[in-house]
Assembly symmetry: C2
Amino acid sequence: MSLDTAVKTPHDQLAEMLAADMAAVNALIRDRMASEHAPRIPEVTAHLIEAGGKRLRPMLTLAAARLCGYAGPYHVHLAATVEFIHTATLLHDDVVDESTQRRGRPTANLLWDNKSSVLVGDYLFARSFQLMTESGNMRVLGILANASATIAEGEVLQLTAAQDLATDEAIYLKVVRGKTAALFSAATEVGGVISGADEAQVRALFDYGDALGIAFQIADDLLDYGGTSAVIGKNTGDDFRERKLTLPVIKAVARAGAEERAFWIRVIEKGRQGDGDLERAIALMQRHGAMEAARNDALMWSAKARDALQGLPDHPLRDVLGELADFVVSRIR
Amino acid sequence: MSLDTAVKTPHDQLAEMLAADMAAVNALIRDRMASEHAPRIPEVTAHLIEAGGKRLRPMLTLAAARLCGYAGPYHVHLAATVEFIHTATLLHDDVVDESTQRRGRPTANLLWDNKSSVLVGDYLFARSFQLMTESGNMRVLGILANASATIAEGEVLQLTAAQDLATDEAIYLKVVRGKTAALFSAATEVGGVISGADEAQVRALFDYGDALGIAFQIADDLLDYGGTSAVIGKNTGDDFRERKLTLPVIKAVARAGAEERAFWIRVIEKGRQGDGDLERAIALMQRHGAMEAARNDALMWSAKARDALQGLPDHPLRDVLGELADFVVSRIR
C-alpha cells in the first residue's frame, strides 16, 4: 500500500499543512508506546512505527478536525489512537499471513517472533483505547469500538472467504470495509465529532473516508494483477498465489463458462497452480472485462469520496482531500 | 486454573446467588459473539465460551455490583465485557504458547488455526469494547482500558522475563498482575463504580480483586511444582519445562550458592534439561524453604483480600467473597 510518486502528492501536501499537529501526534505516539516494564514493546513498535509509515490515517483525523474548525487538543489523541490501531492490525496481520516483508523491512515476526507480534499488538490496542478515553467523548468511543469490530469481522471474513469461489461482490465489499475502509471512515468521522461538527458534516466525513478506503483497496487489488495494463512485474500475482478472491477475480468467475470455472476451481479453491496459470488468469480477467469493470468501480468510489466533500466547509484541506481521492486511483487510470 | 472440589465451593455459591444475573450475562454473550458476516467467529468462540468456563470473572463483577446495592442493568454488560476480554486473552495465549490443551479440549488453534485464534480474539476485544461503551460510564472505560494495557504489558514482560534468572519478585508481581490480577481487580472495581459506590468501597473492591488474583496465581504456580507436598503428578513441572521464572524458582535462585546457580543457569537460561533435573529443582526449592515462602506469600495475599472486604457493606455475597479468598489457596494449605 504505497502512495509514492515523484511529484508533490496530496499526502505531502497534508504533511506540510498539518506539520505542527503531526509533530504533536508523533511525540504522543513515542511517549505512549514506551513501556516502563517491558522494553520489548518499543523495540517491536519502533520497528513498525518508525519504518517510514506515511501516517495517512492520523492525518485524515487531523484534517477532518481542522477543516471543521477544531482548535484542539483531542484531535491529536485521536490521530495517535488511529495510528496505534493501524499498527496493531499490521502486527497481527504479520502473524497470521506469514508475510515476510512489510514496508521493505523484515516483518516484526521474523525479527522477533509470533508471540511478540500478537502481544505487542494487543498492547497497542490497549494503548489506543486509553488514548481515546482521554478525549472524554463517549460518541467517539462508540465509533472507534464499532470500527474495531468491523475490522476484526472483516479480517475473519477474509479468512473464510479466501479460496471460496462462492465469495461475491457483497462479501468482498465487507472484507474491504474491514481491512481498509472502516479505519479510514472512523478516522475522518471522529475528527468531525470531536470538533462538534453538525450531523450532515459528520456523515459527509464518514462517507468520504469510507469511499476513499474502498477506492484505495480496489486499486490495490487491481494492481496486484498488474492493473488494467496487466504488465507482470515482480510483485504481480501475490493475491493469486494466496488464492484471495479479490474484485477482478470475482468478476471473472461470475462470467466464467464451465471450462473457465474448472480452471478457477483448480487454481483458487484447490490451490494447484503451475507455470502459465497467472498469465491465464489475467487473460481471463481481460477477456471478460473484469479488470476494466473493477477499475470503473474504483473510479466510482473515488468520485463518491469527492462528492462527499461537498458537504464540508470550503477549506484548503478540503481541496487536498479531494486530490487525495483522485490520487488513490491514479495508479490505475 | 481449576477451582473444582467435591463440596459446594464459593464458586458454586456465587453461581446460585447470582443465577438470574448470570443467565442474562450468558444470553448477552451468546448474542454478542454472533457475527452476521463471519460464521467462523461463533464457531471458535463457542468452543471456548461453552467449554465449561467457570465464569469467575463476570461473577466477581455481578457480586461487586449487587453488594453495593446496584439494581442494574449495566453490571450485566460489564460482566460480559470481562468474560470477553478473558476469552480473547485465552485465544491469544493459545497462539503464542503453542499449548495443546485448555480446559481438557483441544485448543482453538488446533481445531482451527492460528489465524482464527488471533483474529477472533481481536473480534472479542472489539466486542468487549462495544459492550462497555454501552454502559455510558467514562470512568468504567478508563478502568478497563488501563486493565487491558496492564494485561498486555504483563504478557510481554512474561515473554522477556522467561528464561532470565535476573527476573526478581518485583517483576514476577508485575507479570502476575498482568496475567491474572488486573482483570480480577478491574472486574470487581467496575462493579462498584457502575453502582455509584463511594471511593473507599471502590478502592476496597479493587484491592480485593487484586489480592485475590495474586493469591490465586501464586498458588497455581506453586502447584505446578506439586505444591508444598511436592508430589510429582502428571502435570508437575510444566512451568519448569517452559523455563518460566515463577515465585518458588525466583526464591530458590536468590538463595542459591555458586553450584546451584550453575544448575539454574543450565536448566532455565540454557534450557538444557535432562532426567532428574525437575526432581533436583524441587529439592533445591525445598532445601531453601522457597516453596514454604511462596506458600506464605499466597496466604498473605489471601488474607489481604479478606481484609479488603471489611470496607464493604455487610451482605451474604461479601461472606462468599471471603470464602473465595480462602478457597483459592486451599489447594496449597
